[in-house]
């Protein structure tokens, strides 16, 4: 089997509330679209197990894990210093269990690839890149990515290249491995001057022995396919090739899409297909195909997320999707979608950026490459 898809209906338990923008239903929308399109088969699906506390503590403080558990069991306390019980990260029942399952799924994906059981493994429930050591942030309770990379480092002794395409900077993962020369973190995101979390400037390059192994490409608000792809092509292949990883971990948040309500970027399926194909090819060229792919942001759960993640899976599984989504799939979700479900799998509109951002993005990339002396 070439690629595995980690999935469980229990992923739906990672839910902050009815009105909250982080809606796990997108995972069911995406998986059912892949299945209905004949792109995903039952034998490719692997069930996850919750991660052990011992694993969580390779990244998170014991005190923090303890607080997540107690809040999830209904204990009342002010945990805002830990980022919990806030507007972004409200407390919900059994949140420790829900968070551990996401981490366990990423661990499954990492282990399956590291042990050579599959070439690629996908966990779209994962990618919770904002969680810090002792603080929830931006809808992320436990940082499944950091725990997964920690395992790949300690247990499998691999050099890990982490690539983060979410519209938001991958701050939690960057800070966790900021001084580690064996973990490269590379994040392309909307400039922090405008978007959460605010970090991810080109001057954030790592520290101590890890200097030069944190790479950030902050792009301007309203950046469109043409400019984003240019930035991606100018930095990602070059940086990854020089680093020579043993494995690539990809965070494939799709909130940089032009329809996404939480970012101000203007990408379409064209950019996402380009990025998926490029990283897929790089994994074969650089590290024998070893590639772990995680989800991330994506807040238009009906019109955008299922399509983009289906295109991602099609690329990884070397299958060619039909141009249209199946009528069965649209009928299945019609009842709860506020808008008609999309008929075309790829975007047909291509928003052209009205603001002259390409020049600024070019300058950002030039300045960044100037400071990466090891290339």
């Amino acid at each position: 089997m070439k690629a595995a898809y980690i999935h469980s209906e229990r992923f739906l338990s990672y839910r902050f509330g009815k009105e909250h923008p982080f809606n796990p239903l997108r995972l069911e929308l995406a998986r059912s679209l892949m299945t209905d399109m004949g792109l995903l088969f039952p034998q490719e699906i692997i069930l996850p197990r919750p991660a052990s506390e011992r694993l969580l503590r390779t990244v998170h403080s014991p005190q923090y894990v303890n607080i997540v558990k107690r809040l999830g069991q209904g204990e009342k306390m002010d945990a805002s210093l830990f980022g919990l019980g806030t507007e972004d990260n409200p407390v919900f029942p059994d949140m420790h269990r829900a968070g551990s399952l996401v981490v366990g799924a990423t661990i499954r994906a990492c282990a399956a690839v590291a042990r050579g059981l599959v070439l690629h493994a996908v966990n779209l429930a994962g990618g919770l890149h904002h969680a810090h050591r002792a603080c929830a942030s931006g809808f992320c309770i436990y940082n499944d990515i950091s725990v997964g990379i920690r395992l790949l480092r300690r247990h499998y002794r691999m050099r890990v290249a982490y690539v983060d395409l979410d519209a938001h900077h991958g701050d939690g993962v960057q800070w966790e491995f900021y001084d580690d020369p064996d973990v490269l973190t590379l994040s392309i995101h909307e400039n922090g001057r405008y978007l959460f979390p605010g970090s991810g400037g080109i001057h954030e390059l790592g520290e101590g022995p890890g200097l030069g192994f944190s790479v950030n490409v902050p792009v301007e608000p309203f950046t469109d396919d043409e400019s984003w792809i240019w930035c991606f092509d100018s930095v990602v292949p070059r940086v990854l090739s020089s680093f020579r990883p043993d494995i690539i971990v990809l965070q494939f948040g799709c909130d940089a899409h032009y329809l996404d309500p939480l970012s101000h970027l203007s990408l379409t399926s064209t950019a996402f297909i380009h990025a998926a194909r490029s990283i897929h090819q790089l994994s074969h060229r650089l590290c024998a195909g070893r590639l772990v792919v995680l989800g991330g942001g994506g807040y238009d759960v009906f019109s955008v997320v299922p399509r983009i993640w289906t295109l991602l899976w099609a690329e990884l599984s070397d299958r060619i999707p039909t141009p249209d989504t199946p009528p069965d799939w649209r009928a299945r979700w019609r009842g709860i979608s506020p808008l008609p479900l999309p008929v075309r799998l790829r975007d047909e509109n291509t928003p052209k950026c009205q603001v002259p951002v390409f020049e600024v993005n070019r300058l950002t990339v030039a300045r960044l490459l100037d400071s990466l002396h090891w290339l």
């Binding site: 923008p21 805002s80 806030t86 507007e87 972004d88 904002h130 942030s137 931006g138 809808f139 938001h168 701050d171 922090g192 001057r193 405008y194 978007l195 959460f196 979390p197 605010g198 970090s199 608000p221 329809l259 996404d260 309500p261 939480l262 101000h264």
Partner: protein, 210 residues
């Protein structure tokens, strides 16, 4: 914020009776541009790389170097120096440097040199003030430049239970208006934007989608 909070307390100095050659070597060795000059333990003046450059001969002929080594720091330094006190507000010190077009202020307390404040210290301070210290989103609102509007917008943010990480209030390009630029600790400022707009304010950032 006070000068004492951001000044450097390790100060490299020279003496009025030192040779210019010594001063030049000190600047180069320490990779600095400003030298407070002491007379005994009293601050007597300031010597900068520019003063030294002005004195340096265009061509380093033997006799020029000899002349340079004979000159004493006390003959070339600017005196009396413009100084700051450790309890001066940073903005006053910055204004002093800006108005007098100088690159540093020796910091003097009760007659003794206790530190030095340079352009670099001011820039570092600005970088930290304008930068983002914690995960947060930008919210920019234009309000009339009259009392109460900052409080109205801030109370909307409070009602959503969201922490304000920083706020700066530059003058707006619009006459009679002011910009309020917040960093607020949320990934999703849409509802706050909506509530602030409902109060009649113009929200510049985040923009509307679609």
């Amino acid at each position: 914020m006070l000068v004492a909070d951001i000044m450097s307390t390790r100060v490299v100095t020279v003496n009025v009776s030192d040779s210019l050659c010594h001063a030049l070597a000190t600047l180069q060795k320490e990779r600095i541009r400003h030298l407070p000059v002491l007379d005994g333990d009293r601050l007597a003046g300031i010597l900068t790389d520019r003063d030294l450059r002005d004195m340096s001969p265009a061509v380093l002929r033997e006799e020029n170097i000899e002349r340079l080594s004979k000159l004493r720091v006390g003959e070339v330094m600017k005196s009396p120096p413009i100084t700051a006190h450790p309890l001066d507000p940073v903005e006053d010190a910055a204004r002093l440097m800006y108005v007098h077009r100088i690159g540093c202020l020796p910091v003097v307390k009760e007659g003794a040199l206790v530190g030095i404040l340079t352009e670099t210290d001011i820039l570092r301070c600005l970088v930290e003030l304008m930068g983002v210290s914690r995960p947060s989103s930008r919210l920019e609102v234009v309000v009339p430049d009259t009392p109460g509007h900052l409080a109205s917008v801030a109370s909307v943010i409070r009602d959503f239970g969201v922490n304000i990480i920083s706020v700066i209030t530059p003058a707006s390009k619009k006459e009679g208006f002011r910009s309020l630029v917040f960093r607020i600790a949320t990934i999703d400022p849409r509802q706050i934007k909506q509530a602030v707009t409902a109060l009649g304010y113009e929200v510049i950032w985040p923009p509307d989608k679609r």
